[in-house]
Every structure is written in structure tokens, then in C-alpha cells.
Amino acid sequence: MSAESIVPGRAARAREFRRILAEMLKIDRVRGGLVVAADGLVIAASLPRGIAVEPLAALAATLGRELEVGADRLKRTPFHAALFSADNGTVFLGSSPVGFVVVLGDREVNVGLVQWALRKALATLEGAWGTASHVPATPEDM
């Protein structure tokens, strides 16, 4: 049995990552985003001019791994999404088997809408990986 026949749709994963990122970037006040593997490899990225991809990806993957490893150390359940806000905007981070989805929003970004869109994106990624999770129908249901 070939690897391709074990889990359908693997060949379409790269396309799916780019599509997910493009969907996130359509949200008002979202400035950029990237999909980064747990080892720091950038799989897809679209960032504003002036923000270098590799350093941000390295830090985001490190943050994602600390959230995963820390939860494990504290015997908590694994994190699936996080956000960190500063005076000028917010970094959203979602965990998936392929790695982490990172979204950058400015200070006016609709946090609830991005969280919901991120949950949808993560469910899609999990589906591409062979496991799917439930997503609320609207941001208000979260």
C-alpha cells in the first residue's frame, strides 16, 4: 500500500495550506499570517513588508512548542488555540498536526472573528491529516 492511499488528499495539502492562509488574510484588519511546521519550516507565508518570515516563524514555532510541552509537563490537555495581544496588535496561534497557523492582526482586529476562522482552518487541517474536530457555526457560538 502506498503512502498516498493511506490518507487521501496528502498531495493537496500544500494547496490547502495556501488556501487557508488566503482565507485568513481576507478578514478585515488581518495583516499577515503563516503556516509553520513544529521544526520551524515555513510551509506558507504572507507577511507585511518589513517583517522577515524566517525569524518570525522560528519564534512562533518555539512559542507553539512551549505551549505544547508546557501543557504536557503540567499534565494539562494540549492547547489548540492561543492569542497574545500587545498595544499595536495581536498574534493568533493555532495548533495542528502539521504545525502552527499564525495570524497577525492590527489593534482593531475582530478577535472573536479571527478565533472562529482559525478554529475552522484548524479543523480543515486536521481533516487533511485524517482527524476532524467540531467548529461552532458562528463566532458568537464560541
Binding site: L56, E66, V91
Partner: protein, 268 residues
């Protein structure tokens, strides 16, 4: 002669289609799959390649990357060490080991890997970003039982008024010193160490994205949602059951933050 050369080229092209790929070809294809997030197929090709060329450094490096992508830290570490045996200054292998040391909260091991990676490759952006991040860390997050002692005013839980539904309330200084916790000593130190590490890495990520200093955070897991509040000196973390409304959690965290600052005599 031209005709013979043409025949030879055609013959090479035909046989290359039927000949099994060599290790270099397998690794090249594995790397392409890896870049598309097709880690399982990449791992199969790397395993095939390493059977053909067991000492190939590229193969072992790819194997390490894939183990990291699958969150298999032990095997990744072994593969990176294998690469370094052949090339002690391999920047990617050094970066990989630095990242693993960071995960293990072993800052003393992490820093030399980054320094060495940048010694010959000063324009290595990922290593530079991590080096700049850890450079600002005064000390490593302390091991259990070795945390620096808090010397400020003692805090009374009844004056802080943590919310009834909240749990795992912890207040720490940004250097990892535990200021207050609702939990026992050992659990409190572990929690403070994690909260401090999240604060440090999240702060570096926000700064790198040009967004400023960390003020708030929310971490959602299957069974709980944790809220963070911080300034340049203090970090507060508080967890609620997973079904908490985000607005309520933010409000309660803000109240607890205000009470904590007041009790510590810190201006908001």
C-alpha cells in the same frame, strides 16, 4: 560522433526512468514533500535513502527535521548529533539542538549552540532571532526547588479576591520569581516556570511582528482556558474551565490584575 552521442543520451534518459532512484534523488524528493507538509511521504523517502546511504548527512538532517515535525524529540536529537559528528559547525543541526534545549528549558545548553551556529554563519536569521530572544533572559527558568525567592510584600489571598470559578492563579515576576500562587509549592513553581517561558517567547514574537510588548494572552485547551495579563515586571495567569465565556474570563482576570498591582503597590 554526434549521432552516437544522441543515442547515448536517449539511452540514459530511458534507463533513468526504470533505474531505482539513488539516495540523493530520494532526499531531494523528500525535501520537496516536506516543504508541502507531506511529512509521512517525506519520512518514507528519507528512510529509503538512508538504507542506500546510511551515513549521508543530508538524510540524517532531513530525518531530524521530520522527527521534530512529528514531535519526536529524542530521535530528532540523536539525528542532529549524528550530523554534528561529521560537521561540528553545521548551522542547521546546531539550530535544531538549540531549539530542543529551549524546549527542555536548558538555557545553558541552548546559548552555545546558537553562538556556534552564528560564528561562521552570522546572517542565519532563525538562529539570530532566537539568540536575540534568549540574550534578554537574565537567567534560565529555575529548576524546581531552585527558584529565586520573592522578597516583596506578602500577598493575602482574601485581598486579591481570585474568582470562585478560577483555578491555578499564579503571579510571577518576569524573571521567573514566583510572587503568589494558589497551588502547592512544586506545582506552583512548575506553573510559574511555564507562564514565564510563555511570556518571554510571546513577547519576542510580538516584538518581531512589530506589535509591541505583551499585555494579554488567552490559551485555549480541551479542558481549560487560561488568561494572561502582564506588564514589564509582572505576569498573571489564571485558568477557568473550558466552557468559560471569553468576556467573563477577561473581566475577572482584569479585576485580579488590578487587585494584585494594588497589593504590590505597583501603579497600573
Amino acid at each position: 560522433m554526434g549521432f552516437l552521442r544522441l543515442l547515448s543520451r536517449i539511452w540514459d534518459a530511458i534507463t533513468s526512468l526504470t533505474r531505482p532512484p539513488n539516495a540523493a534523488t530520494l532526499f531531494r524528493r523528500a525535501d520537496l514533500y516536506r516543504q508541502e507538509g507531506r511529512f509521512e511521504e517525506a519520512a518514507e523517502l528519507v528512510a529509503q535513502g538512508l538504507r542506500l546511504a546510511p551515513s549521508n548527512g543530508v538524510g540524517h538532517l532531513l530525518s531530524a527535521y521530520l522527527h521534530l515535525a512529528f514531535r519526536q524529540i529524542g530521535p530528532a536529537k540523536s539525528e542532529l548529533q549524528f550530523v554534528l559528528q561529521a560537521d561540528p559547525y553545521h548551522p542547521r543541526a546546531l539550530l535544531g539542538l538549540a531549539k530542543i534545549a529551549l524546549e527542555e528549558r536548558d538555557l545553558a545548553a541552548c546559548r552555545p549552540f546558537l553562538d556556534k551556529a552564528l560564528q561562521y554563519y552570522p546572517d542565519f536569521p532563525e538562529a539570530r532571532a532566537l539568540q536575540e530572544m534568549v540574550a534578554g533572559w537574565a537567567t534560565t527558568v529555575a529548576a524546581p526547588g531552585q527558584s529565586p525567592a520573592y522578597t516583596g510584600p506578602p500577598l493575602q489571598v482574601e485581598r486579591l479576591k481570585p474568582p470562585a470559578g478560577g483555578r491555578e492563579f499564579v503571579l510571577a515576576q518576569t524573571d521567573g520569581t514566583l510572587v503568589f500562587s494558589q497551588q502547592g509549592d512544586k506545582d506552583a513553581e512548575d506553573l510559574a516556570a511555564h507562564v514565564t517561558q510563555v511570556y518571554r517567547i510571546a513577547s519576542a514574537t510580538l516584538q518581531r511582528a512589530g506589535l509591541g510588548a505583551l499585555r494579554r494572552g488567552i490559551v485555549q485547551a480541551a479542558t481549560e482556558t487560561s488568561f494572561f495579563r502582564s506588564n514589564d515586571r509582572l505576569i498573571l495567569a489564571l485558568s477557568f474551565p473550558q466552557d468559560i465565556k471569553i468576556g467573563f474570563g477577561l473581566l475577572e482576570t482584569d479585576k485580579l490584575w488590578t487587585n494584585s498591582l494594588r497589593e504590590l503597590g505597583v501603579r497600573p
